[in-house]
């Protein structure tokens, strides 16, 4: 049994393909259900975000499961299987679990350290769980993955520093004001970054947003979008005195706000600090403003410098996060291996016990002449033979549990005693022996070596 993941992400597929493969909740669940119903997998979780669509499967035959998954995804996207194969990736065994952990820790995200992925993964898992698509292995594995995601966020500073211009601007303003309660922001010009910054500020609780532009209609339009108030451009200096944060992004060729008007405005506001953000090129704000007492001026270069520094710190933290993933991987692997051994021993004992009972029943007529006591002795004798024979394999199996090679033993025992041909174990519904046989030989040796992260893209 193996964990397998197949899917596409921002690293392998175009936005167009990702759009076509974006699954809503219902589609995700249906896809997982189909894979279970047709017997390709025993457990399934489908994850779909704007940057990736992935299927996590727990299956006996990893190759067949992967093929089925790709086929379903291709049908969903309305593309050829061969086309999807080119942009998709698959991992199995350790590689798949490592991938799951890295995705949940946002190490595989477009913006490393972003916070949403944990919630998205949680939702995907919960949905699959409620839909009955997960069982022992995935219930534990996905909960473990969510814990890894949480651990990475609390033990590393991976998501601490913002890495976009607009959020860096907000962070700088926060460093001055602490929090935005009764603060006012003035947006000069209707640029996109200005709007984005205003939205961020709003999310951080800023009260009043003033928007001004040479053409009042554009200001009104932007004010409506960000939930602010448009003010006439002619009265810029008057509003400057009211603003704690000024964001300027006009396309004017010269300076829009000069040092003198800032000095006057600061006097009018009793020198309460003002944070100026100039994201226009050419610049809107006279660099001399930065010399005025209690005026802080940051232009696009300064912000980019902050962002570059933050990115660098994030990279360092990502390396620490990778180490956490490795640790957790080792833990979960031990568990997965022991999980396989215990039910196999139980099934083996059950199967041999069945043979013994069957044989005793078959002999029923021939030993009917025996007394009850003698019959009990026969029963004891056969029982003790069975136990003696099974003793060593049981001990040896328990010994290898938790070792890298334990899959080999499990598969060998299951094949030699044909354990999956008859009764199914609780976690592993039966596969036809014809499918099982090649998997046990070739599949096991390929997939169960430590750290196999075979990318079949």
């Amino acid at each position: 049994m193996l964990v397998i993941v197949t899917g596409i992400s921002h690293k392998t597929a175009s936005l167009e393909l990702r759009e076509r493969l974006a699954l809503d909740d219902e589609q995700s669940l249906r896809l997982a259900r189909e894979l279970l119903d047709e017997g390709s997998a025993c457990e399934a979780v489908a994850l779909s975000t704007c940057n990736r669509t992935e299927l996590y499967l727990y299956a006996r035959d990893s190759l067949a499961a992967r093929q089925a998954a790709v086929a379903h995804l291709a049908r969903q996207a309305g593309v050829d299987v061969s086309e999807l194969e080119q942009s998709s990736y698959s991992y199995s065994g350790d590689g798949a679990i490592a991938h799951l952990f890295r995705v949940t820790s946002s190490l595989d995200s477009m913006v490393v350290g972003e916070a949403q992925i944990v919630a998205q993964m949680k939702a995907a898992y919960q949905q699959a769980c409620e839909g009955g698509c997960t069982s022992v292995v995935f219930n534990r594995l996905f909960r473990n993955a969510l814990e890894v995601g949480k651990r990475v966020r609390t033990e590393t500073a991976i998501g601490e520093r913002p890495v976009s211009i607009s959020s860096a601007a907000v962070e700088l303003a926060l460093q001055v004001f602490g929090r935005f309660r009764d603060h006012t922001v003035l947006i000069v010009g209707a640029g996109e970054t200005g709007e984005l910054t205003a939205t961020h500020l709003k999310a951080h609780g800023i009260e009043e947003i003033l928007v001004t532009n040479r053409t009042l209609s554009a200001a009104e339009e932007l004010a409506r979008r960000v939930g602010g108030r448009a003010v006439p451009f002619e009265d810029l200096e008057g509003h400057l005195a009211a603003a704690d944060i000024v964001i300027s992004s006009t396309s004017a060729p010269g300076y829009v706000i000069g040092r003198d008007s800032v000095e006057r405005a600061l006097r009018r506001r009793h020198h309460r600090p003002v944070f100026f953000i100039d994201i226009a090129v050419p610049r809107d704000l006279d660099p001399e403003i930065g010399r005025v007492r209690n005026a802080y001026l940051y232009d696009i270069d300064d912000l980019q410098h902050v962002v570059a520094q933050n990115r660098h710190e994030r990279d360092k933290e990502a390396a620490r996060a990778e180490r956490i993933v490795e640790q957790e991987l080792a833990n979960v692997n031990d568990w997965l291996r022991s999980l396989e051994v215990v039910p196999t021993i139980a099934t083996l004992r059950e199967s041999v016990e069945q043979i013994r009972r069957g044989e005793l029943e078959r002999l029923g007529g021939k030993i009917s002449g025996l007394t009850d006591e003698q019959r009990a002795q026969v029963d004891m004798l056969t029982n003790s033979i069975v136990n003696k024979i099974l003793h060593m394999p049981t001990v040896k199996m328990k010994e290898v549990a938790g070792r890298d090679q334990c899959y080999l033993y499990v598969d060998a025992v299951r094949t030699l005693f044909d354990l999956d041909g008859g009764e199914a174990t609780p976690e592993a519904p039966a596969d036809p022996p014809s499918v099982e046989a090649p998997e046990a030989g070739s599949g096991a040796t390929v997939h169960h070596l430590p750290d196999t992260g075979t990318e079949d893209a």
């Binding site: 609390t154 033990e155 590393t156 500073a157 601490e160 520093r161 962070e171 700088l172 926060l174 460093q175 001055v176 004001f177 602490g178 929090r179 009793h270 020198h271 309460r272 600090p273 930065g290 007492r293 209690n294 802080y296 001026l297 940051y298 300064d302 410098h305 902050v306 520094q309 933050n310 710190e313």
Partner: protein, 275 residues
């Protein structure tokens, strides 16, 4: 009993050092959660220091404020206590980075100047003196914290102004928070300073200490008191900005340090910590 006190003090010392190390790591790695660990370690250290003070008081048979050893332990204890109280109300990060080294330096001075406990000088056997010392301790604790916050403010402000705030962002408290901390710590400390000075004057008058007002410590304390009054008045009435407030708080801190480390050992007439 004095031995118990010394052991507790050393434990507190080691724990403060550990807390400082944790705060440093927290600052440079920005590991969330480490700050909390540092606070817990510092709190345990404070418990040991309190135990050390109590044991010392029991063994000496009086409130332990006699001599440099006891007074330094008391002052550092007051600073740590005030900081913990302010911290639990305001949840301001990074101030521990300033408070811990101050406490450690004071404790180091205390530990190298160990003095065996001795009886109170007759002049100090007075409730007014005890009140004077206790109230002054609270004042000093508050005003050291205020001065420390002001130092952080000035450094941070300069970095933000130079547009290279990389090392500061998200690690230090915001300027507005520091401004509030300076204000609140001073607001809390000034009344105690006033009370302590009043108790001192009452004591000097009742025992008719000759020309007590030209004692260097008295003069410097009066100057520090005036600085803090100006600070509060400017902040409340004049709407002064954080930078001006910070410079005043740092001035006050320097005066307090001069009093403790220059005036007391080298200049003072009668303020000899009972020595």
């Amino acid at each position: 009993m004095d031995q118990t006190s010394t052991i507790c003090l050393w434990l507190a010392y080691v724990l403060y050092a550990a807390a400082f190390a944790v705060f440093l790591v927290a600052f440079f790695t920005q590991r969330p959660g480490l700050n909390r660990l540092g606070l817990v370690v510092a709190a345990v250290a404070l418990v040991f220091q309190t135990a050390a003070l109590i044991a010392r008081g029991v063994s000496a048979g009086h409130f332990p404020f006699v001599g440099a050893y006891e007074s330094l332990i008391l002052v550092s204890w007051a600073i740590a206590l005030v900081w913990h109280v302010l911290e639990s109300f305001t949840r301001i990060k990074a101030v521990g980075l300033y408070v811990m080294p101050v406490v450690l330096v004071l404790l180091t001075l205390a530990l190298v100047e160990y003095q065996a406990p001795r009886a109170l000088a007759p002049a100090l056997k007075s409730d007014v003196v005890i009140l004077h010392v206790a109230v002054m301790l609270v004042a000093i604790g508050c005003l050291y914290v205020s001065g420390g916050a002001a130092l952080i403010y000035l450094v941070e402000e300069a970095l933000l102004r130079r547009r290279r705030p990389g090392g500061v962002l998200g690690r230090l408290p915001s300027l507005a928070t520091l401004d509030r901390l300076i204000y609140h710590a001073t607001l809390l400390g000034l009344p105690f300073l006033t009370m302590g000075m009043a108790a001192g004057v009452i004591r000097a008058e009742t025992f008719s200490v000759p020309r007590w007002w030209i004692d260097p410590m008295v003069l410097l304390s009066a100057a520090a008191w005036a600085v803090y009054v100006v600070l509060l008045a400017g902040r409340v009435r004049g709407g002064w900005d954080g930078r001006r407030i910070s410079w005043l708080a740092v001035t006050g801190l320097v005066l307090l340090l001069v009093i403790r480390f220059v005036a007391v050992p080298y200049l003072s007439g009668f303020h000899t910590y009972g020595g």
